[in-house]
């Protein structure tokens, strides 16, 4: 397997799928879906092969590929995978399958463009995690923008164009400044060593001046903080999430946000260790603000997706907090929160998608009583909800616990304050769940034992209203026993709310893998941590605080 370019294969396979769909004249929507799904499954299998071949006994880059590309300006085609990126790649390929599968039914217009965008997006995302040349990284980083903006702008909901443009401009502006940082780092390294390179592993060996580090760290940080997104750079996220189609939200929450966290570790920490230390207290403050702010704002959201979007701001703050604690617990925590957030929040968005496809609204107040009408759905939704609020035994708990532990070790106050966020997240999550799943929906009787029930029961609908000259009023009432307490079925029949079918097998197929992973990561995180351990130790070596 030494010379087999498996990383490039994983990266470009979705692109090939997109090209097939693009070049296949008169392809039917059905064939399009199949090509897209087949491509993504194949990519996933390849990424599993990569994981199987991954050697956890080294912190070096593995399965590296090197092609001379533009040697005059130090640009090469360098790909590699290590403990930091390998799990993220597998998560990306998995979530891509689920996103494509989810889109089968709801996407009916411009199917071809839709799946081309999704596959292009997948190539970009995988490339971001695998590129170890800064120039190549930048290309993939920007490649993600366009298809995502198209997904939001074409297949999104009412305010989609605004959200798409805002997403595009916001992230573009951030990354353009990073471009100057990339070139400046290249030049600084060239002046120091006389070597022209953009390979991040080589650049990490440079000794950059304190001032240079401070501002270069800054431009990289802003680009990545926008992606994460950290308060106060988060404003694009709620808009993008709310307007995006379900699959777009899944990818956005599941993978795009992780690109920010990943890049902070890969580039900011390894290239500018001194500046990382100087910036860390400020980033800690921002993280704490983001964690609390996201949770508080999520509390008052009337829109399901917006609530989950703000909860993402809150959860992702644990990632930045864990990273800039500079200890192993924090690192593990950051990484596990990233993975867990990828599973849990994607699961939540898929859950919202399920009821959105039935109700065509995301208003929390429009729902209720789903526990009786869609019991399977309600229980799956419940598990994701509990995972999101950090129930022990599910994945988020492990990550957030470790991140808080890491932060607590480094900055006691940060750890103490963020503890309270866990309470807040339980509050907004459970309250939302109560309103959506348990309470009666509008149009349903408030209370099963209420006397008003017979009046709205299904039987009375056929009967003319009381007071009509032809039918005596008494005729309707005596049929019902006075002490009758209606069963669930009767309430359902009585409800004016539409009777939605429970989750379909396809929807189940998108939800169950995430459910399993959430539980596995929550109960047995050790294998995941084994994969990361040596890489993180190497990353933290310059900071002299390897813990655990």
């Amino acid at each position: 397997m030494d010379n087999f370019p498996i990383l490039s294969l994983i990266t470009y396979l979705p692109l090939v799928g997109a090209l097939v769909i693009f070049l296949w004249a008169n392809i039917s929507p059905d064939a399009t879906r199949k090509v897209a799904l087949g491509t993504s499954i194949l990519t996933f299998l390849l990424s599993l092969a990569m994981l199987a071949n991954f050697d956890t006994s080294t912190s070096e880059m593995q399965m590296t590929e090197h092609l001379t590309w533009l040697p005059g300006v130090g640009i090469n085609y360098d790909m590699g995978v290590d403990g930091l990126s390998v799990l993220l790649v597998v998560m990306t390929t998995l979530l891509s399958i689920l996103a494509i599968l989810q889109s089968f039914a709801p996407i009916n217009k411009r199917v071809r463009e839709y799946f081309i965008s999704l596959l292009l997006l997948e190539t970009g995302m995988i490339g971001v995690f695998l590129a170890i040349d800064l120039f190549l990284f930048y290309i993939f980083w920007e490649l993600v923008l366009v298809p995502m903006a198209l997904l939001i702008g074409i297949w999104g909901s009412a305010n989609r164009v605004y959200a798409a443009v805002k997403f595009f401009l916001y992230t573009l502006a951030g990354s353009l400044l990073m471009l100057v940082g990339i070139v400046a780092t290249y030049q600084a390294y060239f002046e120091e060593t006389g070597i022209r390179t953009l390979n991040v592993l080589e650049l990490a060996n440079g000794n950059y001046g304190q001032n240079f580090q401070l501002w270069a760290f800054g431009v990289f940080f802003i680009a990545f903080a926008i992606k994460v997104p950290m308060w106060p750079f988060h404003t694009w996220l709620p808009d993008a999430h709310v307007e995006a189609p379900t699959a777009g939200s899944v990818i956005l929450a599941g993978v795009l946000l992780k690109m920010g966290g990943y890049a902070l570790i890969r580039f900011n920490l390894s290239l500018f260790p001194d500046a990382s230390l100087s910036w860390a207290p400020y980033i800690m403050v921002l993280s704490v603000i983001a964690a609390i702010y996201g949770a508080l704002v999520a509390l008052v959201q009337p829109d399901l997706k917006k609530l989950i979007a703000y909860s993402s701001v809150s959860h992702m703050a644990f990632v930045t907090m864990g990273i800039f604690a500079f200890n192993m617990q924090g690192m593990y925590g950051a990484m596990i929160v990233m993975l867990s957030h990828g599973f849990v929040t994607s699961g939540l968005f898929l859950c919202v998608g399920v009821i959105y496809d039935r109700a065509h609204t995301r208003d929390i107040s429009a729902f209720g009583g789903l526990a009786t009408r869609m019991p399977v759905y309600a229980s799956i939704f419940g598990v994701f909800m509990l995972a999101s609020l950090g129930l022990p035994g599910l994945s988020n708990f492990v990550g957030e616990f470790l991140a808080i532990l890491g932060a607590f070790t480094a900055y006691r106050w940060a750890g103490i304050i963020t503890m309270s966020v866990v309470i807040l997240s339980a509050w907004y999550m459970m309250w939302m769940f109560q309103r959506v799943v348990f309470e009666r929906a509008a149009g349903e009787p408030r209370d099963p034992g209420d006397n008003a029930i017979p009046a709205v029961s299904g039987a009375s609908a056929d009967v003319p209203p009381p007071g009509h000259p032809d039918t005596p009023h008494e005729a309707t009432v005596p049929n019902l026993p006075e002490t009758h307490v209606p069963s669930d079925d009767e309430i359902l029949a009585a409800s004016k709310a539409p009777n939605w079918p429970d989750v379909t097998p396809r929807e189940l197929a998108t939800l169950v893998p995430l459910l399993i992973l959430t539980v596995v990561l929550g109960v047995w995180p050790q294998p995941f941590m084994d994969v990361m351990q040596l890489t993180f130790e190497a990353i933290l070596a310059p900071f002299g605080s390897v813990g655990v």
């Binding site: 005059g72 490649l143 573009l172 502006a173 353009l176 100057v180």
Partner: protein
């Protein structure tokens, strides 16, 4: 011994590409008279073959570094690259023009032969600037390009806006030429020669002696102003929006590239080759001009609803980026000096994506629509391939990887950073961020807006092929930019840079 011009034995083997273009121009004139009007489609093929032949021949001059016509004419690596850009842009212009000119998109029919002849002379002029070894040749070439451009701008002679644009362009261009030639005269006065190498040598000894005359600074200022007009740098850009909007769209496509390339080639020849000894006096000036130009062009473009006008302001913005490359000149050791190679590469990249964008505007006009942003509404659902092409051009102009515009911008930023001009690099990315607003607007119109009732119909194979070629160029010239960049980097061998 008195200097005399050896016109008897010029080395004609050095000017074959130029001769081919001249020959084609004359043949076209002849064919116009001989061929019946119905067969004028042949003229397109004649132009294409001529330009392609010149393009191929041009590659034989890589690495050649010789002069002829007594130093008036140079065949060196700069002229090779300028020829490459101009001829490629010429081929694309012909592909974009043919159906537009023939199919009466304008109120009155436009004679195809004259159109091509003017185009050829304009191309020839730009090639002569690129190969100039003397101030006189620079001026000759620039005027040749410009005069043909004035005529082409007013080519839709029954349409008022076309004439208005042409007149504005003509008057201001003439004004600029006068300033330019005045500057040249001052240079001649200060150094006693019009030969570019001679000027450099003379200045070298003057500057070496430590006395820089005020007259030289005046000359420098006049030259920068004159050339600034030609490349549409702010504040000398006033003619650009009107001329671009008024001209027939294929002419706008051509005009946004070839006369501009001629202007930049003149800058390379005059500022870099002849005036390099006093580079400290002009690099900062050009750098400031670059920032003003890119800021103004990109910000004003945001307010435009007319796509041709928007592209006019965007081309002003791109002038700013290219000027930034000049500002980085001469700081690094000559062999590593990336400034002028970034300029040359940018010109090539710019010609692909900008003519491409205008080609799509032409395509839309062919189908009976206007040139406002609303005319692009819903193009993606009615004509997906065209929309994809336009999206690629827009993103490339925006500087999004992996398209050629990104690589071009990257190399300019690299040159600026290498020359320690971090502020210039930051200005470039800020301007790019601003430019995303209006480029994105076209994409938004095409993809996110509802289409009009009638689907666009029309058959323009030549234009379609041109668009395809430019899309390929926009994608591939970036990813495989290594060799093109090496070719451009040869500029350092073209003449001894005196520092």
């Amino acid at each position: 011994m008195p200097r005399f011009v050896d016109l008897v034995n010029p080395d004609l083997t050095l000017i074959v590409p130029q001769l081919i273009i001249l020959g084609v121009a004359l043949l076209l004139l002849l064919a116009d008279v001989i061929l019946p009007k119905a067969k004028h489609g042949v003229l397109t093929w004649m132009s294409l073959i001529g330009l392609s032949a010149a393009l191929v021949v041009n590659f034989f001059y890589v690495g050649v570094n010789e002069t002829t016509f007594n130093g008036m004419f140079r065949a060196d690596d700069i002229s090779v690259f300028v020829n490459l850009v101009v001829l490629a842009a010429g081929i694309m212009s012909v592909l974009v023009s043919s159906s537009y000119i023939q199919n009466l998109e304008e109120p009155d029919s436009m004679p195809l032969a004259e159109y091509y002849v003017l185009l050829m002379f304009s191309i020839l002029g730009a090639m002569l600037v690129g190969a100039a070894g003397d101030l006189v040749m620079v001026f000759l070439g620039i005027e040749m390009t410009a005069l043909a451009s004035y005529a082409l701008t007013g080519f839709a002679r029954r349409r008022m806006t076309s004439l208005e644009g042409a007149l504005k362009y003509f008057l201001l261009g003439l004004f600029a030429s006068a300033i330019l030639v005045y500057g040249m005269a001052w240079i001649y006065g200060a150094t006693g020669t019009t030969s570019l190498d001679g000027i450099a040598a003379a200045l070298d000894s003057t500057v070496g002696a430590g006395n820089l005359e005020a007259s030289l600074l005046l000359a420098l200022l006049l030259l920068v102003v004159g050339l600034g007009f030609k490349v549409a740098a702010v504040p000398f850009h006033m003619w650009t929006p009107d001329a671009y909007e008024g001209a027939p769209t294929p002419v706008s496509a051509y005009m946004s590239v070839i006369p501009k390339v001629a202007g930049f080639a003149a800058m390379i020849r005059i500022l870099v080759q002849a005036l390099s000894p006093i580079r400290e006096d002009w690099v900062l000036l050009i750098g400031i001009l670059a920032v003003i130009t890119m800021a103004f062009g990109n910000i004003v473009a945001i307010t435009q609803r007319n796509v041709k006008r928007m592209l006019a302001y965007s081309s002003i913005g791109h002038t700013g980026y290219i000027l930034a490359g000049f500002a980085a000149f001469g700081v690094v050791v000559p062999a590593d000096d990336r400034s002028i190679s970034s300029v040359l590469y940018y010109l090539l990249a710019y010609s692909f994506m900008n003519i491409g964008a205008f080609a799509i505007v032409t395509w839309v006009q062919h189908r009976g629509r206007g040139v406002d942003l609303e005319d692009f509404n819903g193009l993606a659902s009615q004509s997906p391939l065209t929309a994809v092409a336009m999206t690629i051009f827009m993103f490339s102009l925006m500087g999004l990887p992996p398209l050629v515009g990104f690589y071009a911008k990257y190399y300019v930023i690299l040159a600026a950073v290498e020359a320690d001009l971090l502020w210039l690099a930051v200005a470039i990315v800020l301007a790019s961020a601003a430019s995303a607003f209006f480029y994105l607007r076209v994409v938004v119109a095409m993809y996110f807006s509802e289409p009009p009732e009638t689907a666009p119909e029309g058959n323009t194979p030549m234009l379609g092929f041109g668009v395809l070629a430019m899309v390929a160029g926009t994608i591939l010239a970036g990813i495989f930019s290594g060799q093109l960049l090496d070719l451009a980097q040869n500029w350092v061998q073209a003449f001894p840079v005196v520092l």
